[in-house]
């Protein structure tokens, strides 16, 4: 009973602190894009960026953020949107759904007109559910889970979703490689892997490609020998491995060590796989992606700009972050052109309509939307035969 007052004081204290913190959170956040401060001529437009910048999945969040910031910086250097500079407010959600929703509300409080984010599936779903209430325009660079766009018309993906990628690779295996039997190994702790795997298996069944074995593994596993041994014993001609590059690298190494010589197929999480295994293991490895560093004018331009800014090569996440920013700003431009006032419901709807009806020429291909939040864009197959990614074919 006595502790009631204690509780009271503490919660009051907390309140005081939160109240204080919110008053200065504006400055705390805006140091993101390094583009603030020059808002005199024509004012500025606030755009939110929500990504895990620390924690276990920080590598993906940092990549997406660096890509998006690069695009916004370029736009600002070119004069902004109708003379208004874009101000980025970037919050770290630490890969956690709770923090993602908290920070989403924080961005809303800060008065952003649209948000780029989130990055990984579960937090993105949480934010997608919350954002519907506000009809807040949101573009995710990398949440491939098809359910994120199912909550409302305000949510868009810049990336191709899991089923599309799985289906593509099944067709590629059957039609281009002439494979008749496959096995899969996928991370059962990751929605992305499961989604790709399921679509792949379904498509294989349609194409009369035998799926001999589906092996799962848990998040954080490093030893895939048992599963790979089963796969090799099943006599599969190819292994489909729809995971992120770190796991893929280890799977490729271990599969080759166990004597597997067939094809290994992946999806867009494979972008950096070549950095995680020996080049001589990578023969007959293919993956589908919408971005790879290949010789193309647009891509070269992006890669050079990215290198100049970050001192390293961009990957899939960086490119998708860049395109997500492009998609969102394209929508904002439509609202600005219509002369609407930021913060109003009409403005938000105009941004959403602008995204839905617009087409942008991103570095991951031309992105447009046909009524849903999932993009229609081209996909290509990349070969790792030489030990590093090379364009193989458009698909």
């Amino acid at each position: 009973m006595k502790k009631f007052f204690a509780l009271l004081i503490v919660v009051a204290m907390a309140l005081a602190i939160t109240a204080c913190s919110s008053s200065d959170s504006g400055e705390a956040g805006t140091n993101g894009g390094g583009v603030n401060g020059q808002s005199e001529n024509g004012g500025s437009i606030k755009v939110g960026l929500l990504a895990p910048l620390t924690g276990d999945v920080a590598q993906y969040g940092l990549s997406v953020a660096s890509g998006a910031e690069l695009y916004i910086k370029e736009i600002n250097e070119a004069g902004g949107i109708n003379g208004k500079t874009i101000e980025v407010i970037k919050y770290d959600e630490q890969g956690d759904a709770t923090e993602a929703v908290n920070n989403y509300y924080r961005l809303v409080d800060d008065g952003v007109v649209g948000i780029i984010g989130d990055v990984t599936s579960a937090p993105t779903v949480a934010v997608a559910q919350a954002s519907v209430e506000d009809n807040m325009p949101m573009v995710t660079a990398s949440a491939t889970d098809p359910s994120v766009i199912s909550y409302g018309s305000n949510f868009f993906q810049a990336c191709l979703n899991d089923p599309y990628q799985g289906t593509t690779m099944a067709k590629f295996a059957a039609n281009e490689l002439g494979v008749t039997s496959v096995a899969t190994i996928y991370n059962t702790g990751d929605d992305y892997s499961i989604g790709c795997n399921d679509a792949f298996v379904e498509q294989c069944n349609e194409l009369d490609v035998q799926v001999l074995s589906q092996e799962g593994y848990a998040d954080g596993d490093v030893d895939f020998n048992a599963q790979l041994t089963s796969i090799i014993a099943s006599g599969a001609q190819a292994i489909f491995c729809p995971n992120y590059y770190q796991d893929d690298g280890m799977i490729v190494t271990q599969a080759r060590t166990l004597g597997f010589t067939g094809s290994i197929l992946g999806v867009d999480g494979w972008t950096n796989t070549h950095e995680y295994t020996d080049p001589e293991n990578l023969y007959d490895c293919y993956f589908c992606t919408s971005f790879a560093i290949i010789d193309d004018e647009k891509i070269n331009e992006f890669v050079d700009a990215y290198r100049a800014e970050n001192d390293k090569d961009p990957g899939n996440f960086e490119a998708l972050g860049y395109d997500a920013a492009m998609v969102l700003l394209n929508g904002i431009k439509a609202a600005e052109d219509a002369g609407l006032e930021a913060g109003t419901d009409d403005y938000k709807q105009a941004v959403i309509d602008g995204i839905a009806n617009g087409t942008v020429a991103g570095v991951t291909g031309e992105i447009s939307y046909d009524g849903t939040g999932a993009p229609t864009k081209s996909i290509m197959i990349v070969s790792l035969d030489s030990g590093s990614p090379e364009f193989y074919m458009n698909y």
């Binding site: 009973m1 006595k2 502790k3 009631f4 007052f5 204690a6 509780l7 009271l8 004081i9 503490v10 919660v11 009051a12 204290m13 907390a14 309140l15 602190i17 939160t18 109240a19 913190s21 919110s22 705390a28 956040g29 910048l53 620390t54 919050y91 770290d92 630490q94 956690d96 759904a97 709770t98 923090e99 929703v101 908290n102 509300y105 924080r106 809303v108 409080d109 599936s121 579960a122 937090p123 779903v125 949480a126 559910q129 919350a130 889970d145 359910s147 909550y151 059962t188 702790g189 990751d190 929605d191 892997s193 499961i194 848990a218 998040d219």
Partner: protein
């Protein structure tokens, strides 16, 4: 016990505290509806409430009982999943708003978690110290694997697997979380002041002596553990309703440690400690976003340093009492309360 000092009668003490809580609730609620507290801030208040419940419930097992379960996040996830699934399914069947089922939902979530607490508690509490820690840790891992993979075993969508349980109506708000916090704290407080609570404290201080004095060790250990699990389940249920998504990967070892950090820093055996540590840590996480990279390292160091210099946590077993302070004001020569830390 009659003494010469002016005492505040117990019913009056209860009344004062109840009134203060109600007043606080009304003030904050009017701020929220008036818009002076934004949704972000009220979201943080809800989160603080959830973690207060988590820390207070873990404190029952760690602070009062003196055991170290490392699977509190597992209990949180059981509570969250069972509460959310129960409410969503039932609301569908009965055709009512999900939020109307909050009370049965939370009780259901708490009971399911308590049941799991019982299942793991009976064998685990036969073991001591490190073994108990590792068994509860293992148990939480098993729970996590189940939540991830149960769908493929059942063949229909139940927990949502790796994608998490999505589409949970966001039924938690400041009002119901605050009331839950009050009720949980009230229950835990009165329990600890009762015969049962003293038995639990006696076990912590000296198991052999307690047994010799006729305390039924296994019964009280299990009781404390089950109650701890029950409230963790309620915390989990409120968590699910505050975020709208249950992501199984969240409830790993790290989450258990984070709750443990709150209890340990606040003071093992101090409700004031758990409450303030849960509040301060949640708020600090928000304020120091720029330091978030260093956050975990700082917590780890704090944990080590606190263990070295204040092994009982910042507040030790001290608990604040408003009535006591008032009595001190009424009576000039009121004796200082004996430190509870003197127990051992």
């Amino acid at each position: 016990m009659r003494d010469k000092y002016k005492r505040i009668p117990i019913p009056v003490r209860y009344l004062i505290n109840a009134l203060l809580c109600a007043a606080f609730l009304v003030i904050v609620q009017s701020f929220i509806s008036g818009g002076s507290i934004s949704r972000y801030q009220s979201g943080i208040l809800v989160q603080i409430g959830v973690y207060i419940i988590m820390a207070v419930s873990l404190n029952i097992a760690t602070g009062y009982l003196g055991q170290l379960p490392l699977g509190h996040a597992g209990f949180m996830s059981i509570g969250g999943y069972s509460c959310a699934i129960f409410m969503m399914r039932l609301a569908d069947k009965m055709g009512v708003e999900t939020a109307d089922l909050l009370i049965p939902g939370l009780i259901f979530g708490g009971c399911v978690t308590a049941l799991f607490g019982l299942i793991i508690g009976i064998p685990a509490l036969r073991l001591k110290g490190d073994y108990l820690a590792i068994v509860t840790l293992g148990f939480a891992e098993i729970i996590r694997v189940f939540m991830l993979n149960i769908d493929s075993l059942l063949g229909f969508k139940f927990t949502g697997g790796a994608g998490g349980l999505t589409g949970i109506p966001r039924y938690s708000n400041f009002l119901n979380v605050f009331i839950s916090v009050i009720l949980v704290c009230f229950f835990v407080h009165t329990m600890m002041k009762s015969r049962h609570g003293r038995a639990i404290l006696a076990i912590r201080d000296n198991e052999i002596a307690a047994e010799a004095s006729g305390v039924n060790i296994s019964y009280y250990k299990t009781l404390a553990f089950v109650i701890s699990a029950f409230f963790a389940g309620i915390g989990g249920g409120l968590y699910a309703g505050s975020i709208g998504v249950m992501d199984p990967t969240k409830f790993g070892f790290m989450e258990s440690i984070e709750i443990l950090v709150m209890v340990v820093l606040g003071g093992m055996g101090s409700m004031l400690g758990s409450i303030s540590a849960a509040t301060v840590i949640t708020v600090v996480n928000q304020v120091l976003t720029s330091l978030s990279e260093y956050r975990m390292v700082i917590y780890a160091l704090l944990l080590i340093v606190v263990m070295m210099f204040r092994p009982k946590g910042l507040f030790g077993t001290y608990d604040f009492s408003l009535s006591h302070v008032m009595e001190r004001l009424f009576n000039r020569d009121f004796p200082k309360r004996k430190s509870k830390g003197a127990r051992k």
